[in-house]
């Protein structure tokens, strides 16, 4: 028996390794296409938009992690996204070398001294570190308070929304500290390169793609294996998990923090490519939009999150160019359509009905009497040994 199992698990491992290699090959092919072929096909302006959408795909991955896999609907990822953006923008706004003046908006509002918390942002390594770590820490603290008190479901969503309003009002109201509602903009150079240059933007586009791949790999690692299965278990039946001897709080805090860090990275990359960060991305509507991307692409399918973010935003920019007043109706309609017709999103649909459709089109249909019969090993066993 034991020998049997070991042989079997080795076989499974081999199959796993093969599918992993195929996956890596596909990811590499897509990345190479995006990096080398796409710039020839579309204008620099469109490429910059594509880069922004890919940055948004990173925050979508974070939403998928916390919502799709762990079942916690966060409506507060705008906070982490925007703070990530601010962390980088603050570094870019500080005149170098340290002590050589204030960011221009501060002197405009009569500030004479640099607030203490701006100081660390003179350092580039600190700022890069802060992009991911500050959102993660905020998410961790928020998560600790919420999850420790066993707040779940819709109450979690409401709390994250409330947090969004608090952060929005804070950043929006602090004219002297963060330039209030105008946000931080007009960046000149990023690490020695002129920000608005096409070449710099192309480099940023490549960096964004690399970060999407990295984020995908991290999410893939977290969600496969025992940890990922435990997340699904927490999503499906949290109290069962407790009675099995796990404390779900730690797992949820970790996932929320990772998800917040991804949002922060996304925010920084987005800020660089759009040239502005403002409290505007902290409004609730934007956080809900993120959820819609994931719902459209397919919850609990990482590819779905990326695809959803890119497709919905592509549709948004194309449609709002053609019909400027039309987009919001379309977005609402899209959400309704997905909830009613494709509850598991595009990827979820492809994995079930799409496969059937493909088989039908290629003529590989097998008459099935009852869907679950096809998956019943007993039926399969009988088919093999006794005949249909």
């Amino acid at each position: 028996m034991a020998v049997d199992t070991l042989v079997q698990s080795r076989g499974v491992d081999l199959a796993k390794r093969r599918s992993l290699l195929i996956e890596i090959a596909i990811v590499a092919a897509i990345a190479l296409f995006l990096i080398f072929a796409l710039p020839w096909l579309i204008s620099a302006f469109r490429l910059n938009l594509m880069g922004r959408f890919l940055a948004l795909a990173i925050v979508a991955l974070g939403i998928d992690l916390i919502w799709g896999f762990t079942g916690l609907l966060s409506l507060g990822h705008g906070i982490f996204f925007t703070i990530g953006g601010y962390a980088l923008a603050m570094h870019l706004k500080l005149p170098q070398p340290p002590g050589s003046g204030l960011p221009e908006f501060m002197s405009l509002y009569g500030g004479t001294e640099l607030p203490w918390f701006w100081r660390p942002f003179y350092s580039a390594p600190f700022s890069l570190f802060a992009i991911a770590v500050i959102p993660a820490v905020i998410a961790g603290i928020l998560g600790y308070v919420i999850f420790r008190n066993r707040i779940r479901g819709v109450y979690f969503s409401i709390l994250t929304q409330a947090a969004t309003i608090i952060f929005f009002n804070f950043f929006n109201g602090q004219q002297k500290l963060f330039n209030g509602t105008n946000g931080l903009t007009d960046f000149r150079s990023v690490f020695g390169l002129p920000v608005k240059d096409n070449r710099t933007q192309y480099i940023l586009y490549i960096v964004t793609i690399l970060f999407v791949i990295l984020a995908y790999a991290v999410c893939r690692w977290l969600t496969s294996g025992r940890f990922g299965r435990l997340l699904v278990a927490i999503r499906d039946d949290e109290s069962r998990v407790r009675f099995t001897g796990y404390n779900p709080t730690g797992f949820k805090i970790l996932v929320f923090a990772v998800s917040g860090a991804l949002a922060g990275i996304a925010g920084a990359l987005y800020t660089l490519q759009s040239g502005i960060v403002s409290p505007n991305t902290m409004n609730i509507a934007f956080s809900i939009e993120m959820v819609i991307w994931v719902a459209v692409g397919g919850r609990a399918t990482l590819v779905g999150a990326i695809l959803g973010a890119v497709l919905v935003n592509l549709a948004k920019s194309l449609l709002s160019e053609q019909f400027p007043d039309f987009w919001l109706f379309f977005q609402g309609g899209l959400f309704l359509l997905v909830v009613l017709l494709l509850p598991s999103g595009l990827i979820g649909w492809l994995r079930t009905s799409g496969v059937d459709l493909y088989k039908q089109l290629t003529g590989q249909t097998r008459l099935s009497t009852y869907p679950s019969l096809e998956e019943d090993p007993e039926v399969e066993y009988e088919r093999k040994n006794i005949g249909d």
């Binding site: 199992t5 940890f227 435990l230 499906d236 009675f243 099995t244 730690g250």
Partner: protein
């Protein structure tokens, strides 16, 4: 006298003044299989909630292996060695039976270990053995929501065992099962009883007869009404009255207690 695995002293649990458990005393020997019966609302499920830490006692205490359980949370009590099976099968429907068992089997249930340490071969072997025991080897890798009700019940019992607890709490394991499945479940529990202490809560008297080799405890209105072998309990007049009263309650408007009271009042006057 055997050593006790579970001792409950003068336990009271009240919810807004309603006493779900009322000065209850109970103890369980190591290695014992105890069946608890009682009419609806007798406090059986609250009793399990208290042991597993879901509800905290208002008064009195619960000691597991001599330790007072009050300061511990559910997952800590589970780690100490208390496993609980729920009334309706609670398995993770989006995972396969194998994955369900692997989650329960994991020895170190911290975040770091779950994330970084690989599943041990010993654990894998335990899981394969358990799949065999609960008869799900051939369905090990399909999603658990495709299993039948009985198979889910067994999977959940398997998950309990995978936790390697010292005390198993089993709440109505045969509700909704066919006769054949009921008998199989009984055999499973009896074989588990050889190496675990078990408390089974059950309604089905035929099933109780199958598994109750020792003491049966009857709960009524939050306290222990009587204890004894199944034959003693079934012929105890108090038990008969409790169950009979219940039955009349549910069948019609007549209430034995009220009638008796009324008669007494009439006779006294």
């Amino acid at each position: 006298m055997n050593e006790k695995i579970l001792e409950i002293d003068d336990l009271t649990v009240s919810f807004d003044g309603f006493k779900a458990l009322n000065h209850l005393n109970f103890s369980l020997d190591i290695g014992e299989l105890r069946v608890i019966i009682g009419p609806n609302g007798a406090g059986k499920t609250t009793f399990l909630d208290i042991i597993t830490g879901k509800t905290k006692p208002t008064e009195g205490q619960v000691r597991f292996k001599g330790r007072n359980l009050r300061p511990y949370a559910e997952h800590q009590i589970a780690q100490m060695g208390v496993g609980r099976k729920f009334q309706t099968p609670r398995v993770y429907l989006n995972l396969t039976p194998r994955e369900n068992l692997e989650i329960a089997c994991n020895r170190q249930k911290t975040v770091i270990h779950t994330l970084f340490r690989k599943t041990l071969n010993a654990e894998r072997r335990t899981v394969v053995g358990l799949l065999e025991t609960i008869g799900l080897s051939h369905k090990a890798d399909m999603k658990a929501n495709l299993l039948s009700h009985g198979e889910k019940q067994w999977l959940e019992i398997g998950m309990l065992v995978a936790q390697s607890p010292d005390l198993l709490l089993v709440d109505e394991p045969v509700a909704g099962l066919t006769d054949e499945e009921t008998e199989k479940t009984g055999e499973l529990l009896l074989s588990l009883a050889e190496s675990h202490s078990i408390i089974v809560i059950e309604h089905d008297m035929e099933f109780v007869r199958q598994i109750a080799k020792g003491t049966v405890t009857v709960l009524h209105q939050g306290s222990v009404l009587c204890e004894g072998t199944i034959d003693e309990v079934q012929t105890d007049p108090r038990v008969v009255e409790v169950y009979l009263g219940q039955e009349i309650h549910t069948n019609g408007p007549v209430n034995l207690e009220d009638t008796a009271e009324l008669l007494g009042v009439l006779e006294g006057s």
